[in-house]
């Protein structure tokens, strides 16, 4: 399941649901609102594009890394410090595949999926700059 949503998610349940025939390793990435002098984080997505982009990344990762399952929840809206922003659950036969798949997916999301974050700071608000000056790949 791949969703962009405001609600939080039960990661334990996602892991249980990810297990299937042949699964020997699951790697979970959980991105969390870090307390860098911020009060809250506000997330915005171009959902009609972000969702198919996520799906494209997932099908590429599945093929390249031989993954058995991928589930992604990317949250939007206002999130407090410590809340989950992004949860990626990757299942594979072996750990090498699961780690590589997980890393491939998070890097692809950071590089190219149209989602933005604004830090609601004690000293004012600040849009988080993209990791790549050109934010390339959004329309791959």
């Amino acid at each position: 399941m791949i969703t962009i949503q405001t609600e939080d998610v039960d990661i334990g349940k996602m892991i249980t649901a990810a297990k299937q025939q042949g699964t020997g390793a699951i790697v979970v990435f959980d991105g969390i609102v870090r307390d860098d002098d911020i009060r809250e984080m506000e997330l915005e997505a171009y959902e009609e594009v972000a969702l198919p982009e996520l799906e494209k990344i997932v099908s590429e990762a599945k093929k390249t890394c031989n993954l058995l399952s991928v589930d992604i929840i990317h949250r939007i809206g206002r999130l407090a410090v410590g809340e989950n922003i992004l949860v990626i659950v990757v299942g594979a036969g072996h750990r090498e595949q699961a780690y590589e798949g997980s890393r491939f997916i998070i890097e692809a999301i950071k590089a190219g999926v149209p989602i933005w974050k604004k830090e609601i700071r004690k000293d004012g608000d600040r849009w988080v700059p993209g990791e790549h000056q050109h934010g390339c790949g959004a329309g791959k």
Binding site: G31, L43, E44, A45, Y46, E48, V49, A50, P52, H74, I85, L86, I106, I109, K110, A111, G112, V113, P114, I115, W116, K117, K118, W127, V128, P129, G130, E131, H132, Q133, H134, G135, A138, G139, K140
Partner: protein
């Protein structure tokens, strides 16, 4: 003809989002964004440089497909198009 323009993140804060424009036939993509962004100087300056060219970090989409900003002046918009204009992404 009717075209939708969607700004995101900082551009949205400055210019609004989901703006429906009644554009003349064969309107250029660059000119269309310029017209709409022109209503707010700070918004315009965030997207265009002093020569009127898209700033290098601006990302442009036409109907969900990436368009190189250098190609934008030559691209025509069509009835029902959705144009998206946004800064570098920072999700995850």
């Amino acid at each position: 003809m009717t075209v939708r323009i969607r700004f995101f993140a900082r551009f949205r804060e400055l210019l609004g989002t989901d703006i429906v424009v009644d554009a003349p036939k064969n309107k250029g993509l660059s000119d269309l964004v310029k017209d709409v962004a022109g209503k707010n100087q700070e918004g315009y300056d965030a997207i265009f440089d002093e020569k009127g060219a898209f700033r290098e970090y601006v990302i442009l989409m036409q109907n969900g497909k990436r368009v190189e900003t250098s190609d934008a002046p030559a691209i025509r918009v069509a009835e029902g198009d959705e144009i998206a204009v946004f800064p570098p992404v920072a999700g995850g």
